[in-house]
């Protein structure tokens, strides 16, 4: 039996082998295909352009072309469901509209209706007949454009009349809309398409003249039904040849007919055997079986509901190219649902120039493929082996497409990215995945020259392998840059192990200089006017970073640097100083450098491992983060420094409530526990000592206000509670030098009269990026308001 389940029921395109389903036929199988994925289908326009738009509900499932695109500026993926495949949207518009078609439909729709309302009588002709008589379609004039004011359905079996707007999905088959304007040929074609769609055993159309010159159309039908079934099977017929059954000779004898039907039956069974299992899970299968059992006889309406259910599952799961193409094996105990899932048969990567023309890209294709999600990577690797392509599981999925888009976007190489599934013209039901990329200019230079300025340049994507060189030079005073000139020159070499190696290591070599105020030479409470010490570093750093996940990584490398300590007048200084009560300066404070000369040179190994599995649940961070960092001295440098400086920080973000994830759902309250231990064995110059106090150490104190020490322990707890879209939090923190301040040469903690330990507690509110908090300094017992940017943890 034939039943054409089309993507869009209004599609007038079924190619059916039997013009009319016949219940009494002994045969059970026929193929009838609406061929939704067949390319180059003529886009017929059975409906005039003024037709009201199709219900949006039916739009999405039938979308044929969807385009994921991202621009480098806004890293959001946009999904466009376009009406590209004209065959699919038979009734709608011009059919070949590409991505824009979808929108134009929406936008043009209200205009069309309005036009109808404003100018009645101009676009259509009156029937010119007396009112209230029933006219056969054949009797209508072929020249006139009739306005159809009413579409009624008459179910002969149920003996009931319903109007087209009653909402029965069944009537989506009919493309006639009340208020539309149609020619006689349109109406005849509509009737023919209804007759061949397989949903009706019998269908007829009559027109009734109305006194106002419009027509009322009544479609009388008998719904097709088949014998009841109690099992359901879904098969994947994508990439399979469509079988065209042998033409049945009308002059066949009974015996011949039997033979013919039996042959067809056999063929269909073979087809089922050849087909691949589909993704539809068993629970959904069971649900459909229940539907079948409840219903009794299988009716066209039921099949439609089954189709909708199956397609809904696919589309909900992101398989937007999947669709039910046919039901077969009707009139047996088992209903077979044929699905084309949208298997990816080919990956095509295109580069576009600024004008959108296809051009040769600089980026190597392997790099793009590497960033595509695994489903497609598997596919790419098997390009040479077409057998592999047919493996189950490479079905185009929207989520995978979005991920591909995200990954490609994060490379920062493309200004525009489109991931676009297109139907494969050679493989029926196949999808060609098109990735269209617009590359950004590889070289850029920027300069802002004022008295203080920055000059930066970048050369991206060297050899098309995303290697880059970038540099920045900035000075507060370009007229006299030797005062303070900071620069950074960096070379980044991703895919150190090769493009095709799954290991993701990135090499970096950088040359830097920076100047920071030392938090070691800072006074404790009551000690004001501690002369500032600036720490200048110039150095070279070479590291290799291996990414395990998006957030977890292991970095190791070597650092060689020269550290110079300067006082406020920019002259090199060797010791910290403190104002004496007499007004003089005591210049014999803790030594600033290891060598004692004010200039240290040192080379050491550095390793950092970060384990971060935090994720956002409705905007709140939840998970764990552990960071371990170690600097290992190598006897290389001034005074042959040998040291091991290490720190471990552990942070837990514990949600106190399980919440549903969703865009508008509130985040859960989160308890944050944080601990940090740092220590150093061996040579420890003051600029490398751990400092206590500050917004990222112990809140409520200034940077370094609590001390500078060899070993450090910080403990913090914070409770974040969402309140009306923002976050309110309370916290308590403690930092302790573990008595190790005296083990820093010159004991800067004591020299500047700092406590060496301290606690604080407070509360705050987060407004956007900023945090406003009140923190109580437990040592002094006083509190103060702070405004900070970014998160503490």
């Amino acid at each position: 039996m034939a039943f054409a389940a089309q993507g869009l029921p209004r599609s007038p395109l079924p190619i059916s082998s039997s013009s009319r389903p016949n219940r009494r036929r002994p045969s059970t199988t026929t193929t009838s295909l609406s061929a939704p994925l067949q390319p180059n289908l003529p886009s017929s326009s059975s409906s005039s352009p003024q037709n009201p738009p199709p219900k949006s509900k039916s739009l999405l499932p039938s979308s044929q072309t969807l385009v994921l695109s991202a621009t480098a500026t806004a890293a959001t993926a946009t999904l466009l469901c376009g009406g590209g495949g004209g065959g699919f949207f038979g009734g709608g518009g011009s059919g070949g509209g590409g991505g824009g078609g979808f929108w134009s439909r929406f936008f043009s729709a209200p205009m069309a209706v309005a036009k109808d309302d404003e100018e009645p009588g101009r676009d259509w002709d009156s029937h010119g007949l007396p009112g209230n008589i029933v006219v056969q379609l054949a009797k209508l004039s072929g020249l006139k454009k009739y306005r159809v004011s009413e579409v009624l359905f008459f179910d002969r079996r149920r003996r009931s009349t319903t109007s087209a707007t009653a909402g029965d999905t069944f009537f989506e088959m009919v493309s006639l809309q009340p208020g539309g304007t149609y020619r006689k040929a349109d109406l005849l074609r509509e009737l023919e398409s209804l007759a061949t769609c397989g949903m009706f055993e019998k269908v007829d159309m009559e027109a009734k003249t109305k006194p106002d010159g419009t027509l009322g159309v009544t479609i009388s039908f008998v719904e097709a039904t088949w014998q009841s079934a109690d099992s359901f099977r879904c098969i994947n017929v994508g990439l399979m040849q469509q079988t065209k059954p042998a033409e049945a000779d009308p002059d066949m004898t009974e015996k011949e007919k039997m033979e013919y039907f039996r042959g067809q039956e056999r063929e269909y069974r073979r087809r089922i055997e050849r087909s691949r299992p589909c993704l539809l899970p068993i629970p959904v299968n069971r649900e459909i079986v229940r539907m079948l059992r409840e219903q009794g006889a299988v009716s066209a309406r039921l099949l439609q509901r089954i189709r909708d259910r199956v397609q809904k599952w696919y589309h909900d799961e992101g398989y937007l190219c999947a669709m039910v193409v046919n039901f077969g094996n009707l009139n047996t105990r088992e209903v077979v649902c044929e699905v084309v899932e949208g298997d990816i048969t080919q990956l095509s990567i295109q580069f576009q120039d600024k004008l959108g023309n296809v051009c040769e890209g600089n980026t190597q294709l392997g790099l793009v493929r590497r960033e595509l999600p695994k489903q497609k990577v598997l596919l790419c690797c098997s390009d040479e082996d077409p057998g592999e392509i047919l493996r189950q599981g490479h079905v185009f999925n929207m989520e995978a497409g979005k991920l591909a888009l995200k990954n490609l976007n994060s490379l920062g190489l493309f200004s525009n990215i489109e991931v676009n599934p297109r139907q494969d013209e050679k493989n029926e039901g196949g999808i060609i995945l098109e990735v269209k990329l617009k590359e950004v200019e590889p070289k850029s230079t920027e300069a802002s020259i004022q008295p203080g300025g920055t000059v930066s340049f970048e050369h991206r994507n060297i050899y098309g392998l995303n290697r880059s060189i970038n540099g920045t030079v900035s000075s507060n005073n370009l007229l006299n840059p030797q005062d303070d000139l900071s620069f950074k020159l960096e070379y980044v070499h991703p895919y150190l192990d090769g493009l095709y190696n799954p290991r993701n290591r990135t090499g970096r070599v950088s040359c830097f200089n920076n100047r920071k105020l030392s938090p070691v030479f800072v006074g404790g409470p009551g000690v004001d006017d501690v002369p500032a010490i600036w720490v200048d570093r110039v150095g070279l750093k070479a590291t290799i970073a291996e990414a395990y996940t998006r957030q977890s990584k292991f970095t190791y490398g070597i650092v060689a640097e020269e550290i110079t300590t300067r006082d406020e007048t920019s002259s090199i200084c060797t010791n910290g100083s403190r104002a004496l009560p007499t007004g003089g300066l005591s210049m014999d404070g803790p030594p600033t450098t290891l060598s004692g000369t004010g200039i240290d040179r040192v080379a050491f190994l550095q390793a950092n491992i970060t384990r971060d599995n935090t994720k956002f649940i409705n905007g709140a961070t939840v998970g764990e983060r552990n960071i371990f960092q170690v600097d290992q001295g190598l006897f290389a440098g001034s005074k042959y420094p040998f040291f091991n400086r290490h720190q471990l920080s552990v942070t837990r973000f514990i949600p106190l409530k399980t919440v549903e994830e969703g865009a508008d759902k509130p985040p859960p309250p989160v308890l944050i526990l944080h601990g940090r231990y740092g220590g150093c064995v061996g040579d420890l110059p003051s600029y490398d000592a751990f400092t206590l106090g500050g917004p990222y150490s112990v809140r409520g104190y200034n940077m370094g206000e609590l001390g500078a020490c060899r070993n450090i322990l910080e403990l913090a707890g914070e409770l974040r509670v969402p309140v009306k879209g923002t976050q309110v939090y309370v916290f308590a923190e403690h930092g302790n030098d573990l008595g190790s301040s005296k083990n820093v040469k010159g004991n800067p903690t004591e020299f500047f009269r700092r406590a060496g330990q301290g606690s604080s507690y407070g509360a705050g509110i987060k407004v956007g990026m900023a945090r406003f908090e009140y923190a109580c300094d437990h040592n002094a017992g006083t509190g103060a308001w702070f405004c900070r940017f970014g998160d503490r943890f």
């Binding site: 299992p277 993704l279 539809l280 899970p281 068993i282 629970p283 299968n285 799961e317 992101g318 398989y319 999600p373 695994k374 489903q375 598997l378 189950q392 599981g393 490479h394 079905v395 999925n397 989520e399 995978a400 395990y548 996940t549 977890s552 292991f554 004496l580 009560p581 005591s586 014999d588 290891l594 390793a607 491992i609 384990r611 599995n613 552990n626 371990f628 170690v630 290992q632 040998f642 040291f643 091991n644 290490h646 471990l648 064995v681 061996g682 040579d683 420890l684 060899r710 005296k742 083990n743 820093v744 040469k745 004591e750 020299f751 009269r753």
Partner: protein
């Protein structure tokens, strides 16, 4: 000043005869124990009477003293010899400044004492102040930190201004006992000496009255309200401490610089690195692997990998 020549202890002749006799007796006793010289370090807060005490012991007005002006900023060594015995007394400036211990002053004292041996520490405090505070502790701690805890085994607590009339309701002995107990307690806490150790090796307390109005007894000796001649008594206490079996403190470079924290533990660094690599880094790597295994993969990926088995 370290090179100051040793002069004849002429000041001893200023003392009453009885005192002289006692002193010479004690010195002879020390000589018998093969102690030919004695170096006494006098420390304490400013204005407690350190210099006056030095003057009183030597019997000369060597250190300038005035009622309102604190003494000089440098330590001074006074060296006197008598009958083959050399007595060195080092007077130090007060090490308190602005409510804190002045590390600078401590540093100067330490440098001054380089390559000298300290036999006795006189920690000077006033008897007539009623209270001990955190500052005392800091001073004591600074002394202990500078020269090691061991110096307190050679320590004598000296309470000056001993000629006082105690507050109402207390007799002199009780007041002295209370006050010395309080001071000793602060010494114990400040120097972080264990209670038991402190009890076994009690730090003696000596009383001093430097005032010229000090009462004298029949033989002209300066006596305290309890009738004890304090100079011989102090020297006696000192000789007892010298012969209590503890070692004198030799101030060398190492003691001045303190232990070099940068050198400590260097030898363990290779072990530490091995621990960090094999335990910490490997451990975190393992956690990352677990994270990857646990990660919620989207359903489509599981289906693609053939893990769904049509169950979802």
């Amino acid at each position: 000043m370290a090179s100051q020549v040793t002069r004849e202890w002429s000041g001893i002749q200023q003392f009453p005869v009885a005192t002289q006799t006692k002193l010479l007796e004690l010195l002879a006793k020390l000589r018998n124990d093969n102690v030919n010289s004695l170096t006494i370090l006098v420390m304490g807060k400013g204005g407690v009477g350190k210099s006056s005490t030095v003057n009183s012991i030597l019997g000369e007005r060597v250190a300038p003293v005035s009622a309102f002006q604190s003494e000089g900023l440098r330590p001074v060594l006074y060296s006197r010899s008598r009958a083959g015995f050399t007595l060195n007394i080092i007077d130090t400036p007060g090490i308190i400044e602005g409510g804190y211990v002045n590390e600078h002053a401590v540093e100067v004292i330490k440098r001054f004492l380089l390559n000298k041996t300290i036999d006795i520490l006189l920690y000077v405090e006033r008897l007539d102040s009623y209270r001990v505070d955190n500052l005392d502790r800091q001073v004591i701690k600074a002394i202990a930190d500078s020269f090691g805890k061991g110096i307190w085994r050679r320590g004598v607590v000296v309470l000056t201004h001993a000629q006082l009339s105690p507050p109402d309701g207390l007799n002199y002995e009780d007041f002295f006992a209370k006050r010395s107990e309080a001071v000793l307690r602060v010494v114990r806490l400040g120097a972080r000496i264990k209670r038991q150790e402190f009890q076994e090796n009690a730090i003696p307390v000596a009383l001093v009255e430097n005032s010229g109005r000090c009462n004298t007894n029949d033989s002209g000796e300066k006596v305290l309200p309890n009738g004890i001649a304090w100079i011989p008594s102090l020297v006696n206490t000192i000789t007892e401490v010298v012969s209590n079996g503890s070692k004198p403190i030799f101030v060398d470079k190492k003691l001045i610089d303190g232990p070099n924290p940068n050198a400590w533990g260097k030898i363990w660094i290779p072990l530490i690195v091995a621990f960090q690599y094999f335990v910490v880094i490997k451990g975190i790597k393992k956690q990352i692997k677990e994270d990857i295994a646990k990660d919620d993969r989207p359903l489509w990926e599981l289906r693609d990998l053939g893990l769904a088995d049509r169950n979802f």
